[in-house]
């Protein structure tokens, strides 16, 4: 029941973000939406994900957005205009997704295919094969360790690209741009 309420709250926050006229408000509300999602993840027994979403979504991501906003200021308030073609595309896409959820296995049922196959193996074998209690860590670092290697490479790639874009004092870039 709490999760339903939170979910409703999340949807309302999303609408508030799209309707906000001021980007600062939008950024702060996005941080809030991450926090709500983190609570939802916790309610859905995903402690690691909740932890990460709180630290990244509500923390780092919001911070970076604020810093970027500071760098690009001043920003004029957005006119509240509806872009109809985009709205139609989005409604079509949303309709397709809603249609797609109709045959999803029931929410939270232990008999769902997701819980029968690979997922079950992890829960049953982690103790014997890996020997750590946190199954998420076992899957993350070992069973699907290569994904996590890829994830580290993604972080490295983004860091490198950002550094090359804005990593030196702005004065130097302006001299270069003006050349």
């Amino acid at each position: 029941m709490i999760s339903l309420l939170l979910l409703l709250f999340l949807a309302i926050t999303a609408i508030a973000i799209v309707r906000s006229r001021d980007t600062l408000t939008a950024v702060m509300l996005t941080g809030l939406s991450s926090l709500i999602s983190a609570c939802l993840f916790l309610l859905l027994d995903a402690a690691d994900v909740a932890f990460t979403e709180a630290a990244v979504g509500a923390g780092i991501s919001t911070l970076l957005m604020l810093a970027a906003l500071h760098a690009v200021a001043p920003v004029r308030p957005q006119p509240r205009r509806v872009a109809w073609p985009a709205l139609i595309v989005v409604l079509l896409c949303g309709g397709l997704l809603a249609y797609g959820t109709l045959d999803l296995p029931p929410f939270g049922a232990a008999e769902n295919p997701v819980h029968q196959h690979v997922g079950n193996h992890y829960l049953e074998q982690t103790e014997r094969e890996i020997g750590v209690p946190n199954v998420v860590t076992a899957v993350l670092a070992s069973y699907r360790g290569f994904d996590t290697l890829g994830e580290v490479v993604v972080v490295f790639t983004a860091g490198l690209a950002v550094l090359l874009l804005i990593g030196r004092p702005r004065r130097k870039d302006e001299e270069r741009d003006a050349r």
């Binding site: 946190n134 670092a141 580290v152 860091g159 990593g167 702005r170």
Partner: protein, 140 residues
């Protein structure tokens, strides 16, 4: 950035605690929620707090950009290197079983090392991001 006395005292008190928490999260990931990624982010958060309160020059003095660049690369090298080590030890890529005498000990060692790689790269990159964006203030 102007230094506010209360802010800087609170920060000086808080930052070591947050750093400590980051290490706890790093090494406790086997047992509870957490791991290299979360630890890296929390570590970075402590440094970013320092950055916000004491300014770029003071923070850069403790953690120079050059070190962070090496750190970001080092984490990837550690993780991918563990994979190469398991190849050399006769296993498949990232097969930690062969890293120690028995499979479970090997898994423990492997997970410890790769989580360290994750933590180092994530922390370094997040701090680098904060440095980069902070330098771009509009009135800079």
């Amino acid at each position: 950035m102007k230094s506010h006395l209360i802010l800087s005292i609170v920060a000086k008190f808080l930052i070591p605690l947050v750093l400590l928490f980051a290490f706890y999260v790093q090494f406790h990931g086997d047992f509870g929620p957490g791991g290299g990624f979360q630890a890296g982010v929390i570590f970075a958060a402590a440094v970013i707090l320092h950055l916000l309160v004491f300014g770029h020059a003071a923070t850069e003095h403790f953690i120079p950009t050059a070190v962070l660049k090496i750190g970001a690369a080092l984490g990837v090298l550690i993780y991918a290197g563990v994979g190469v080590a398991s190849l050399l030890a006769g296993g498949r890529y990232l097969d930690y079983d062969v890293l120690a005498d028995n499979a479970v000990a090997g898994q423990h060692l492997g997970i410890l090392l790769v989580e360290a790689g994750v933590g180092i790269t994530v922390a370094a990159v997040m701090i680098l991001l904060a440095y980069s964006f902070q330098q771009r203030g509009h009135d800079a």
